[in-house]
Point group: C2
Chain length 273, copies 2
């Protein structure tokens, strides 16, 4: 059999949507499976993709808030994107993932036409040796999605002896990119923002069930700035803030090697004990 | 005229909702007016209140994401809250503010039944002198809502000569509580999380129009923990991360004087130039 189409990148296949009436049809990806159900980052990127594909979209993604409301079963789903409001340069969206008549995940997001303004970064660029000086970690045997990322942990790898976390007890710094390498875009950046292990696993000596319940990402670049990045690794840094009564929050930053902060991301995570 | 009912606190009056069919009726508050339209913190608290009042609510607020989609006119509005998903201990909500057939603001939020677990704080308690040692700032003459808060700026007050910001160029630390004092609850805590001026005003010598487009707050306490706090001031700290192409993000923490982190909050803000 001959096929003149090059095979889609595994990530593009995972977040692919096909028009289906006024909605889109999608399918979970075995490559991006998590211990239970799909990797949340791929689901969030898929919900974002419904807006990227939408003919009414205005501008580039500015925010993405994903609610993981219930377990997503392996298999088919549909995605519906609805414009809540269109302004001159911003647009607010509601996106729902439907499976068996239920809504196990949904997202609100804002797109915006970005324009040149004063630009500055107040966050500190994390200290890190270049990627080539950091060993690549093997994939986690029980989380297939980790095999879809080249991850080079500088500090804060769960299950490893404590290394330098700069005095912060739940910080991870790592170089990360798609595996195989793939040019950066909003979809892959959105997914990578959810690629940090739950911080509670760094803080507790015993393993505890944990899972993201909601995630909010802010994009600090437009499509041209992401495209200019190419497929180089990003420097990711994540920290937790507080654990209490069954939930904690963690915040992440995604930087280019040159020190440009491309996205900041925050999530609240359930943990059992 | 005699009235045996004590007058409602100005904040309770601002976020009050009256059942109206399967929705609620509300009204903007002149006390919480901003330079243009209402103070976003009061609107977010009002949307949260629709869930607090809802007979189907399960547990306490865990997350609140508010989208400010369009200008809200002074006057009446209605609020509709819809359960997206109810699990055993969490519940996902969509709340819309309707005015003249439009949706200028909406929110997604999660409520959860909190239970005792391991508890820890990774964020650093900000350095601060006690409230009595910090002068109270006058209200901003063009933002009525600032008169509804007792604010004692330790550092990072816009328009004032730069003081110690701990080396961070856009940090504010302040003691804040409702004015007059009011026992803390989820509604007032949600509003206070939006009481930090746009960080760009600390960074730019000239004034630039700026306004929140979306705000996400994570609550790290249950109702009993908030009630135990009483009406003492909270220590708030806020910082920006990156400004680029018309938008920036800022993150805030709300602490008790004893060093308990009650909420963390993140927002993306439009700025003009």
């Amino acid at each position: 059999m001959h096929d003149s189409q090059p095979a889609a990148h595994v990530f593009d296949a995972a977040v692919a949507l096909t028009p289906q009436g006024d909605a889109y049809a999608g399918h979970t990806s075995t490559a991006y499976a998590n211990m239970v159900g799909p990797f949340g980052g791929a689901i969030g990127a898929t919900l974002l993709n419904a807006v990227m594909l939408h003919p009414d979209r205005l501008g580039d993604p500015l925010t993405l808030t994903v609610n993981f409301a219930a377990p997503i079963a392996d298999g088919a789903f549909s995605v519906q994107a609805r414009v809540m409001r269109t302004n001159r340069s911003t647009q607010h969206w509601m996106v729902e993932l439907l499976q068996d008549g239920q809504v196990p995940a949904f997202a609100t997001l804002i797109t915006a036409v970005r324009r040149d303004t004063w630009s500055e970064t107040d966050a500190d660029f994390p200290l890190a040796p270049p990627p080539a000086q950091v060993a690549q970690s093997p994939a986690h045997p029980r989380a297939a999605w980790t095999g879809c990322y080249e991850m080079r942990f500088i500090s804060g790898m769960p299950g490893q002896p404590a290394s330098d976390t700069g005095g912060h007890p739940s910080e991870t710094r790592l170089w990360i990119r798609d595996q195989p390498a793939r040019p950066l875009d909003f979809l892959s950046l959105a997914a990578m923002c959810d690629a940090f292990y739950p911080r509670v696993l760094l803080r507790r000596s015993s393993w505890t069930p944990a899972g993201t319940v909601a995630l909010t990402t802010y994009f600090h670049a437009d499509a041209a700035q992401l495209q200019a990045h190419g497929n180089a690794p990003l420097l990711g840094a994540a920290r937790a803030l507080r654990y209490n009564k069954g939930f904690f929050d963690q915040s992440a930053e995604m930087w280019t090697p040159a020190g440009v902060l491309l996205a900041t991301s925050h999530q609240v995570v359930y943990f059992k004990e």
